[in-house]
Every structure is written in structure tokens, then in C-alpha cells.
């Protein structure tokens, strides 16, 4: 296992910090799934984003009116 993979006790501790206490019989499976997700998304660290903003944004002052049905 590589240095950045979570052990089952670490997964339990991270989940607890997120406010989700996990029963002991779920620690290993959650750690394995979280590690798999991590391995998929970690590739984004290769990108040099420069000044690129995140896509999540909103328009202030959006007009409020009833929906047209």
C-alpha cells in the first residue's frame, strides 16, 4: 500500500471528523473505496490551473419571479 492510502482506522477517523461515525465492520470497505476514488481524482493535481476559477459560480441579483408553467 502506498503512503497516501488510508488504513481502515484512518478512514474511520476521517469519517468521524466529517460527522459520520462508521461501525467497525465498514472501516475496511470504506477505506478501500475512498482510496479508489482518491486514485481517480488525484490525477487532477497534474494540471497547472494558473488563475483559472472554479466553474461553480452564481449570478448576484438574479431576477426572482414565478416560474412559467
Amino acid at each position: 500500500m502506498s503512503a497516501d492510502e488510508l488504513t481502515p482506522p484512518e478512514a474511520a477517523r476521517w469519517a468521524a471528523r466529517a460527522g459520520l461515525p462508521l461501525p467497525a465492520d465498514r472501516h475496511a470497505a470504506v477505506a478501500a473505496t475512498a482510496d479508489h476514488i482518491h486514485s481517480v481524482v488525484a490525477v487532477l493535481r497534474e494540471l497547472d490551473f494558473g488563475d483559472t476559477p472554479p466553474a461553480a459560480a452564481y449570478r448576484a441579483g438574479e431576477e426572482k419571479r414565478d416560474a412559467a408553467v
Binding site: 488510508l6 478512514a11 476521517w14 469519517a15 466529517a18 460527522g19 459520520l20 462508521l22 465498514r26 470497505a29 470504506v30 473505496t33 475512498a34 479508489h36 476514488i37 482518491h38 481517480v40 481524482v41 488525484a42 490525477v43 487532477l44 493535481r45 497534474e46 494540471l47 490551473f49 483559472t52 476559477p53 472554479p54 466553474a55 461553480a56 452564481y58 438574479e62 431576477e63 426572482k64 419571479r65 414565478d66 416560474a67 412559467a68 408553467v69
Partner: protein, 461 residues
């Protein structure tokens, strides 16, 4: 031909000219449903009494000349993530056993106003978080997956138990089951169809759209659904008449044919069928242009980086209160999502910005990109992986999402059209991707292609 076999377009014309009554049509669909639903299990709930009552009302309206447009008297199914006032929105989950929607979703209200008749609520992979819809059977082969997550909607339309249906699409969930069951699926531009009252999987990736028998049918449904609703923060102030013209001339349109990504790790029969369909587009006058798909190394990472934490956030309360009520595959993803750092999510949102910019440049050069919808036809129920000719093993869900995700990340519209069957008789889909709000071009091209092909038969079940 029985009324349940009619396309929406044909049924609509028959109703308008009083050759067919909405009562006859709804009765025919309900009779078909009684016969085949036990083998398909496409529906969570069916509401025949309300449907027959609405059909009688529609019949009276048509007789009195109170015409409400092309969806009047047309029987439909709604994916059970879509609120209908007074009914449960179960999301095909035990978590929602006691649910009851107080009001209609925007799309349900708009379809009701257009005169469409609800047959029932269709199965989804639990909370749309999966690609197979295990409760439901493929319309062509009941031992194979329906695809998902809008599996019930696609199977109902393919089998004649709904004349059209709505699905939702976060990573392919309209297009995948449409392709696997041989029907048309449209994921509209992000924000074109309001999502108010539709259970979310991932706010920044979710779309609602039609599943139909023909491209023209999809255009008719889209026209009823599109339009601004301030209750969906992504909603666009756009609507229109999407019905494609009758002609098949595609002269002047440039079709991008990907040299990378979309034909990698694709079943040879799927590739051959899609390339034949692209050749047909060329024979209709379109110009084929080889294109390079940008940032492909980051597509899955961006999709997961957005979807996983957003889905976990949506389920925060219930995951703590009733975790045992989720199916195992969904529960583990929701739990593991709690462990994704915020930095990964922000990185995915920034990657999306770059990807949208790169796709905008790509779509400066071509009007449409044509590609397979899914790399492989419907797999056997219970099959977990696909093994490619180079020995690579890929999860079934990963394979089904792979070619769909770019349109969810970038928000561009994508239309899946059937382009034939493999040697096992299983349907193959081609997707046409366009510029944001480029639905008219996709529908024109899809409709032109369909007119060159023999009319498709319903699944025999």
C-alpha cells in the same frame, strides 16, 4: 399496428385528426403494460385509474376543439426521481418509503399543462447512483441490464408501455439506457430544462430530458419542457420550437469524428455501426472533420471529483439516520464521499472550467461531434467488468459512463440515436454532441439520419 406501437408524433397526429381517441391510446398502452410489465419491471408504480380518467378528459377536450398541443392525450412515464403532487418519489429506494411530494416538479407541471397523461413512475438505479437499474430488465433480453440510471423509462418506451418518458442524466443516465434498449435519449444543454422538484444526484451535473421512440418525438417533448424557472439556479431563459424540418439535406454541417477517446476501447461491432451511421451523415451532405478530443486524461477525474462529494452532500442527513436502508453499492459510495478533501472538489471545478473552454474551441470548428453513446451493448445482469482486446479490464459502470461524462461536465447537449443491432440482436447507440443550446442542429441531424433507416419495431418482449 396497435396504438401502443405508435410514435408520439404519429399518435399525436392521429389524436388531432380524431382518428384515435386518447382513451383508445391509453387503454392500449395499459393493456400492453399488463402483458409485459411482469417480465420487465420497468415501473415502481402504475396509476391506471388516474390515467383512464385523464384520457376521458382529453377525449372530451379534443372533441370540443380544446386542443393543447402535440402532447395532449399522450401516455408517459416519469422516472421516479421526479415529483408528482400527491405521489411518492421513491428514487427506487427504501430510504424514501414514506415519501410524498406536495407539489409537482416543474417538468411534471409542464407536461400536465401540455395534456400528457401519466401512466406511472419508472424505476431508477437507486437515487440515480448507478448505471444498470438492477430491478428492471432490458427490453430486448431480460437477462441483460436495462442500463441506467433511467432504466425503467427507457425500457417502458422500448417495450410500448409508455409512448414517451423522462429521465435524468448526471453521467449518461438518459443516454446509456436509451442506447441499450434501442430508443432515443436527449440530454439537453445544462439548464435548458428546469430541475426544480427533481431529486438530485449531483447539482452541477444533473440534467432532465426526454426518452422517446424517434428524434422528432424528442423534439416535441423538449419544446414542452424547456423554459426558465427561477427555482433552478442553473435554469436558462431559453425555449423554442424544436421540431426538425422534413428535409434530410445536411449540406453545410460539419461533423467532428474523434480520432481519440470515443473510439478507444469500443466493441468492434459498436464501432462499425457508428462509423456506418457517420458515413450516412456524410452521404446526406455533411462534411466529416477529424477532431481531437481535449483533456481526455482528466474526464473521469473531473466527473468523480464533482459527483462524489455532491452526492454525499445531498444524502448527508439520511446517510446518518438510516444508512442500512441504502443498497450496498450506493451506501459505500456515499460513505467514501465523506472522505474526499474539499481541495479535490475545487480542483474538479477548475478542471471543468478548462474543459469547457477547450470544448468551446473544439466546437468552433465543427457543428456536431458524432461518437458511440456507450462502448459496449447491454451486458448480462450481474456482470461487473468488461475485458477489452488488449487485456484491459474495466468496470461496467465506468465503461457506460466513459463516453457520456464529457457532455455532463461541459453541459453541451447530447442526443443518442439507435444505429442498429449487434449480432446478438442488442441495440447500438450513436450520440451527437453539439454546442450549448445546439439542440436544433442535433435534432435536425438525428431526424435526417432516422429518415434514411427503416422504421424501428418495438421490443417484442
Amino acid at each position: 399496428m396497435q396504438p401502443y406501437e405508435l410514435s408520439l408524433t404519429a399518435a399525436s397526429e392521429a389524436i388531432r385528426t380524431r382518428k384515435l381517441s386518447p382513451v383508445e391510446l391509453v387503454d392500449s398502452v395499459l393493456d400492453r403494460l399488463a402483458k409485459v410489465e411482469p417480465q420487465l419491471e420497468a415501473y415502481v408504480t402504475v396509476t391506471p385509474e388516474q390515467a383512464r380518467r385523464a384520457a376521458r378528459e382529453a377525449e372530451r377536450d379534443v372533441a370540443a376543439g380544446r386542443l393543447r398541443g402535440p402532447l395532449q392525450g399522450i401516455p408517459m412515464g416519469l422516472k421516479d426521481l421526479i415529483d408528482v403532487a400527491g405521489a411518492a418519489t421513491t428514487a427506487s429506494s427504501r430510504v424514501r418509503a414514506d415519501h410524498r411530494a406536495d407539489t409537482d416538479s416543474t417538468v411534471a407541471a409542464r407536461l400536465a399543462a401540455a395534456g400528457a397523461i401519466l401512466i406511472g413512475k419508472t424505476h431508477t438505479h437507486e437515487f440515480a447512483y448507478g448505471l444498470t437499474t438492477p430491478q428492471t430488465h432490458n427490453a430486448r433480453d431480460r437477462d441483460r441490464v436495462a442500463g441506467g440510471s433511467s432504466g425503467g423509462s427507457a425500457v417502458a418506451v422500448a417495450a410500448g408501455t409508455a409512448t414517451f418518458a423522462l429521465g435524468t442524466d448526471t453521467g449518461g443516465s438518459i443516454r446509456v439506457p436509451s442506447a441499450l434498449n434501442g430508443v432515443v435519449g436527449l440530454k439537453p444543454t445544462y439548464g435548458l430544462v428546469p430541475r426544480h422538484g427533481v431529486t438530485s444526484l449531483s447539482w452541477s451535473l444533473d440534467h432532465v430530458g426526454p426518452i422517446t421512440r424517434t428524434v422528432e418525438d424528442a423534439a416535441l417533448v423538449l419544446a414542452a419542457l424547456a423554459g426558465h424557472d427561477p427555482r433552478d439556479p442553473a435554469s436558462l431563459a431559453t425555449s423554442g420550437d424544436y421540431r426538425p424540418g422534413a428535409g434530410t439535406d445536411l449540406t453545410g454541417l460539419r461533423v467532428g469524428v474523434p480520432r481519440n477517446y470515443y473510439f478507444d476501447h469500443v466493441d468492434p461491432e459498436v464501432e462499425a455501426a457508428v462509423r456506418r451511421a457517420i458515413d450516412t451523415l456524410e452521404s446526406l451532405g455533411a462534411r466529416l472533420v477529424e477532431v481531437e478530443i481535449p483533456m481526455t486524461r482528466y474526464i473521469q477525474a473531473t466527473q468523480w471529483g464533482l459527483m462524489v462529494p455532491e452526492a454525499t452532500a445531498y444524502h448527508e442527513r439520511t446517510l446518518r439516520a438510516v444508512p442500512e436502508l441504502y443498497q450496498a453499492d450506493v451506501r459505500i459510495l456515499l460513505e467514501a464521499g465523506e472522505l474526499m478533501p474539499a481541495g479535490d472538489y475545487v480542483r474538479a471545478q477548475r478542471a471543468r472550467t478548462l474543459m469547457r473552454q477547450a470544448w468551446a474551441r473544439l466546437l468552433d470548428d465543427v457543428d456536431v461531434i458524432a461518437a458511440p453513446t456507450v462502448p459496449v451493448t447491454a451486458v448480462k445482469a450481474g456482470q461487473d467488468t468488461v475485458t477489452w482486446s488488449d487485456g484491459t479490464v474495466e468496470g461496467v459502470a465506468d465503461a457506460y459512463v466513459r463516453l457520456s461524462a464529457p457532455a455532463n461536465i461541459t453541459g453541451v447537449p447530447s442526443l443518442s440515436v439507435p444505429v442498429g443491432d449487434d449480432t446478438a440482436g442488442l441495440p447500438i447507440g450513436m450520440q451527437l454532441l453539439g454546442r450549448p443550446l445546439g439542440e436544433p442542429v442535433l435534432l435536425r441531424m438525428g431526424h435526417a439520419y432516422e429518415q434514411t433507416q427503416p422504421a424501428r419495431q418495438l421490443a417484442t418482449v
